[in-house]
């Protein structure tokens, strides 16, 4: 009897606690955010996606008044993390770092096998971009892009150009360059991100490398950047010409942003994107971003969605180069 009584009390207590909690959550949910936000990173700790969230994390926590919990969901060139983001509850408490053009290339080439569709992820903001660069070692005989192209024309397929994996921005930007310049190079896919690509270049195992310009800038003592993609020269590299200056249309660039599962409330998107862009506009953040050889972007929700759409239509034709 006593036992039953005791269990009854416990159950009652538990129920009332649960009820209080339910009301507390329901009552508080009027202002977002009121509990920690989980931020999924689709690449390994220490990579650029990680750096981008860590850069804003302390400031964002101060602005939003809640903690940001960074969690890593790595694998499949980002596919694992983005599939999970696409399936998360769209309440604004799970967001994730996005990277272009990786996401659009994967969905275009792998279809359903990618594990997510672009329309399952709502872009909140795009904050940073890096043009792609073609670089050689400091002691390389190629001093300009013209030298490089001339040699390649005379020796088709002889130049080994390292890059991050196949079916990647590196691969695509080199394909674009080869087509525009009418040359044939051998693309050497290297696993493990831009770090090993730079080791292979600096170690002299490949003749040239193509990856985000920021990596070249980080190693500027050892490498020479021949050209960068994009319409304008980079602020961090005023002496380096763009491919366009030689008449080669190379557009591939890498950009980093933030997204949430589709169906996330509009006010959440607005709040997050305002906070993020406010952090990105802070002078010290802007300075750090530019010094690393990256370009700040300030795309809010509407511009972000338009940006993604623009990339989708641009890359639909571009990926044909890789087939």
């Amino acid at each position: 009897m006593r036992v039953a009584w005791r269990w009854g009390t416990v159950t009652l207590l538990a129920l009332s606690v649960a009820l209080v909690l339910v009301f507390a959550v329901a009552g508080a949910s009027s202002q977002y955010p009121n509990r920690p936000i989980t931020w999924l990173v689709a690449f390994a700790p220490g990579g650029q996606s990680d750096v981008e969230v860590r850069r804003v994390q302390p400031h964002l926590e101060k602005l939003l008044g809640v903690r940001i919990l960074v969690e890593y969901r790595t694998g499949g060139g980002g596919a694992v993390g983005w599939s999970e983001l696409a399936r998360a509850r769209p309440d604004g408490y799970t967001v994730g770092g996005l990277v272009m053009p990786h996401m659009v290339i994967q969905t275009l080439l792998r279809g359903a096998e990618a594990g997510y569709r672009l329309d399952q992820i709502r872009s909140i903001a795009w904050t940073v971009s890096a043009p792609n660069a073609l670089m050689v070692r400091r002691d390389s005989p190629f001093r300009t892009l013209r030298d490089f192209v001339e040699y390649a024309k005379a020796n088709p397929g002889k130049l080994a150009v390292g890059g991050v994996e196949r079916l990647s921005p590196s691969d695509l930007s080199l394909a674009q360059f080869m087509q525009a310049a009418g040359i044939r190079l051998t693309y050497v896919p290297i696993a493990g991100g831009a770090g090993p690509v730079m080791t292979s270049l600096i170690g002299g195992h490949v003749d040239a490398a193509t990856t985000a310009a920021s990596h070249g800038i980080r190693h500027k003592d050892q490498v020479r950047i021949l050209a960068v993609s994009g319409k304008q020269r980079m602020k961090a590299l005023p002496d380096v010409p763009t491919f366009a200056e030689f008449g080669y249309n190379v557009t591939v660039e890498t950009s980093w942003g933030v997204g949430a599962p589709a169906g996330v409330p509009a006010e959440v998107v607005t709040r997050l994107s305002q906070a993020l862009l406010q952090v990105m506009r802070m002078p010290e953040i802007r300075k750090a971003v530019e010094e690393e050889g990256l370009q700040p972007l300030y795309y809010g929700p509407a511009e972000s969605q338009a940006y993604v759409n623009r990339l989708v239509s641009a890359y639909r034709d571009l990926v044909q180069l890789l087939r």
Binding site: P45, R54, R55, T74, G75, G76, R110, A288
Partner: protein
Amino acid sequence: MDPVVQGLLNVLSPQYLLLMAVGVAVGSVVGALPGFTATMGLTVLLPFTFVMDATSALVLMGALYGAAAFGDAVPACLIATPGTPAAVATAIEGHKLTKKGKAHQALLTALVASALGQLTGGVSLLLLAAPLAALSLRFGPPEVFWVGVFGLTIMASLTGKSLLKGIAGASLGLLLSTVGVSRTESWVRYAFGLPQLQGGVELVVALIGFFTVPEVLRMVEQRRREQYVAEYREQPGALWEVLRETLTRPFLLLKASLVGIIVGIVPGTGGPIASLVAYNEVLRSSKNREVGKGSIEGLIAPELANNSVAPAAMIPTLTLGIPGSAPAAVILASLLLHGVKPGRELFGAHATMTYTFIWSTLVSGLVLFVVGLFMIRLLVLVIRIPVHLLAPVVLSLALVGSFAVRNSVFDVGMMMGFGILAYVLRKCGFESGPIVLGLLLGPIIEPALITSLTLAQARGSWLEVFLLRPFSALFIVLSVWSLVRGLRGWKLAQQAAAAEA
């Protein structure tokens, strides 16, 4: 003042000693919990390092990284469960030592060897950073491929009675490593339409499945006969015994350190390979018949090599800005976020900070030794827990650990699947060692092979890329030699076993 001297003085200040103690404590714990790695410990610390200056952040993270390489030996020795992939050899040799009633010696050996490895690795970082960084650049994809092949040749040391089953196991491991998006070509393989499989088989998850689960099942099986994992008596003088056994073998210490340092600077490799190669080497070269059956000597090599990897992996990180291992990548990110660029600047404008860090890797070896001595006194009591209590606790640690790696329930299922598979395979005479070896080396060998093949296409010569580079040639010779020695050693061991029986 000279930055080298200033760095040493800095390190000995109470502030940094305290940070090291914190790093060592956290590192030992994350290392000891299966499924939790140094990388995870570092990412947890990362937000806290923002509020520190860059030097403190480096000292703290470096201490954690080193200590995790000791922590992983604790469950390996006590319950045959490697805390991280780097403790596979320890789980074999250390647990056999525990079985002999020498759990205390096993843990002390791991501690002494780890602290020594930290010292030798630290010395290489202090004195040889520039030449070793240059050496690390010589290892391109073809060299890394041959290092991987060399790693495979130690399979014979890990296999049980049947060599054929060992080869089959290693092949299974290699095959499992191909699941998911391929690392160079970006094709999806063996994913069966499951997005969770795109990320492939996580090494730590497989490790828990292949080592922990069969061990738990074995505990349950033998519960009636063996109430405890191993006999254990308090043994005074254990530390003295371990120190004597360790310090009287300067040649072994040197060899194991060299293995750790070389593997540490080779891109894409790390503690797991260093410890196995060092273990293989001591098995091959030792005259001591106890080595391989649970000996202090056999345990020194893998533990020492594993710990000298950590400072050595910081060499390419600091000098070239290219991380030598996954934990080093996190440390590098923290540096970048503090606005410090690696390379020349680190040894120029920030030289005092850099040398403070380099000295801290040495001093944290001593801190690890002191903190570890206290921890071991408590940890060794795990052996006193009767099996019927220990088995469920270990199993729940395995469940939590396999979930924690990627916060994935799918991984928990995968771990259980591997566990049951490993149990059945063990009954049929397949050891887990070769399988995990294949799983460990596949992701190193395959991408390096594909990259080298494309490189050979550009060079127009297969021979030039694969055979004629000096370090490729060196590792080919080493592989052949290791294979022949390994097979002969295996044959001799089998004959000896047959003669005894």
